[in-house]
Symmetry: C2
Subunit: 173 residues, 2 copies
Amino acid sequence: MVLRLPVHGDNRGWFKENWQREKMVALGLPDFGPVQNNVSYNLRAGATRGIHAEPWEKLVSISTGRIFGVWVDLREGDSFGALFTLELGPETSVFVPRGVGNAYQTLEDATTYSYLVNDHWSPQAREGYTFVNLADETLAIDWPLPLADADISAADLTHPPLTDVVPFRRPRT
Amino acid sequence: MVLRLPVHGDNRGWFKENWQREKMVALGLPDFGPVQNNVSYNLRAGATRGIHAEPWEKLVSISTGRIFGVWVDLREGDSFGALFTLELGPETSVFVPRGVGNAYQTLEDATTYSYLVNDHWSPQAREGYTFVNLADETLAIDWPLPLADADISAADLTHPPLTDVVPFRRPRT
Ligand SMILES: Cc1cn([C@H]2C[C@H](O)[C@@H](COP(=O)(O)OP(=O)(O)O[C@H]3O[C@@H](C)[C@H](O)[C@@H](O)[C@H]3O)O2)c(=O)[nH]c1=O
Ligand SMILES: Cc1cn([C@H]2C[C@H](O)[C@@H](COP(=O)(O)OP(=O)(O)O[C@H]3O[C@@H](C)[C@H](O)[C@@H](O)[C@H]3O)O2)c(=O)[nH]c1=O
């Protein structure tokens, strides 16, 4: 789900409601009950993170700069492997259901990415992640900066190709 | 309440848990139940906002840049008028109880201020605010940039001196 946010500019800069439960639920955003807010700051254009599908929901937004955002459906079913990309700045947010893979590449230096999630992360929680490689040949993502020139974490270089991914199944509760 | 946040730096930039309900509640943060996340972006060093006491709790943090943060107790009682100031960057957050006035001046260009609140803002909600002037002579706040040179909203120039403030009383529910 894509949200367009009013950004109120004035002499000081701007102000936005990044998440507003009542209004956004009325517009169709799930009442997802966030318990954690994470911020990642990226020094340079070309920083590339992902592709991570997590066992919780996420509302993704940009505080400064711009990203090329990438989402890949990794849930078991007919839409497995479906790709969605969108450029995001402070005026656009994306709600990501659990099991949908998430990645981004920054388009500007000093880009700040912020997200709310409805479960607590822990190092152990990584075992419930589903990963796919940024450079996967089936997805053939058209990264604005070639990955060879991008800032990537060591961990993100090790993720499997789509053909080796075990689809995400919502754990029974 | 002042929180010191781990900021994990790497080749891409950094990552932080800005709010983590479980861990922070265990450390003494009230389980305040945020329903809204606001972001304000400030173009220049010297942007100055406040002093606003709201009828809800706030967890204040910085995504980029630095601020000189100011809090003034405007609640009815012995601590009315008490002043607390602290420099905040991405590694420091402040939890602000309802009725405590909040203000800041940016110390760097491109400073991004982000906060979570546990009630929904509306233009009408402003009637429940308690305001005091940034330039109040009793408080005599030592602003890093003199207010005459600061970027301030028209509204923030109109707030009363401390001596004219009606102390905040928690409304009966
Ligand atoms: C995700 C996370 C990481 N960390 C720590 C672990 C590391 O020291 C540091 C960086 O973690 P990494 O997993 O390398 O961050 P990352 O930026 O590569 O991971 C992120 O990628 C995005 C594409 C996804 O949308 C996010 O949900 C998340 O998976 O932060 C936390 O403390 N809490 C958290 O919630
Ligand atoms: C506070 C708020 C403002 N707005 C709109 C109204 C205006 O068009 C624009 C800017 O509003 P202002 O009141 O001028 O923003 P401001 O930045 O001067 O107000 C802020 O000052 C900080 C010191 C306090 O900590 C904050 O709680 C808030 O009061 O944003 C919202 O849409 N939602 C909100 O929650």
